[in-house]
Subunit: 207 residues, 2 copies
Amino acid sequence: MENNISQAVIRRMPRYYRYLGELLENGVERISSKELSERMQVTASQIRQDLNNFGGFGQQGYGYNVEFLYEEIGRILGLTKVHNVALFGVGNLGAAIANYVNFEKLPFRMIGLFDVDQKKKDRIVGGIPVMMIDEFEDFIKEHRVDIAVLTLPKDAAMPVAERLVSLGVRAFWNFAHVDLMVPDDVVVENVHLSDSLMQLSYNMTGR
Amino acid sequence: MENNISQAVIRRMPRYYRYLGELLENGVERISSKELSERMQVTASQIRQDLNNFGGFGQQGYGYNVEFLYEEIGRILGLTKVHNVALFGVGNLGAAIANYVNFEKLPFRMIGLFDVDQKKKDRIVGGIPVMMIDEFEDFIKEHRVDIAVLTLPKDAAMPVAERLVSLGVRAFWNFAHVDLMVPDDVVVENVHLSDSLMQLSYNMTGR
């Protein structure tokens, strides 16, 4: 069943997860869908509908057990195992992401940073040394890399992605301003900053 | 009419704009919805439907004039005027965004960088000096600030946003891991990196 769930639902799940995490930190044990709805600015029926996609987790009139729901959503989101991450392109954005991934309490672990610039070799970023991009082939023979982060210029992203795919990488977190062409069994999550900025600009017009 | 368009359509418009920009750079003058569709991995009828929201821009069997469509979408997206941007929180991510905004060919101009850390005062990032956050009130009296970028820790974001709203800022590009509570006439575009990473993780499960 979980395979047919729309990406719109999936986009809301991390938000639920974040909120429930905050509630847990604040010692809240139980929450009604009405309260959760007010906090999240989503209708209570939307929340019930979203969760019903995964079998539902509440009892009518009794609300949700926060810890149980948090853990179930974590499981749905694939957060019960550690994902090893390697990053390509250690510029400003790459460095920010490297620090970010290791800092977050989520089960993603930055295990390798790669760049083409010899001057960056062995520089420590986010606690680990930068390697040269040519070292990746040897690196991947000894380490499981689940996710490749591409914080590269547009023109460099596609050739690097192709090489990584041929070396067995099956998931990309893409910050380059290009839509990657990859085989069907490869997952890509794009963060297109310019698209986001243009959406903001659109929503500003007429105000 | 344009006010009732769904955010899903709006999310696709920047992609069209990016692609059309690339076509223009490559000297392509005219494109059929079929070709555009193959390039963008969206159905031709989806493209026609999306553009019909704004009045449609093609002639049956004749395709789209690339430059005209590019400019019209730019107008729709509010890209015909320059937006002044100020950024709050000059860490790794803030520095990356500051460089990014000035580098892109889009009409967004970074005019002020603000931080709480005295050690960062007057440091040059993306071509402009970092100011202290207390200087913003004077700054906004002399400059029009259309968009505030929040690259701040979660707990700092909401108080800063409230202060900016009271000073008249009406649009936020929010990178802090918190959903801002702002008045209805304020626009917020969120870039929640952890949500994006969790979506990737979800889409990886079962592969």
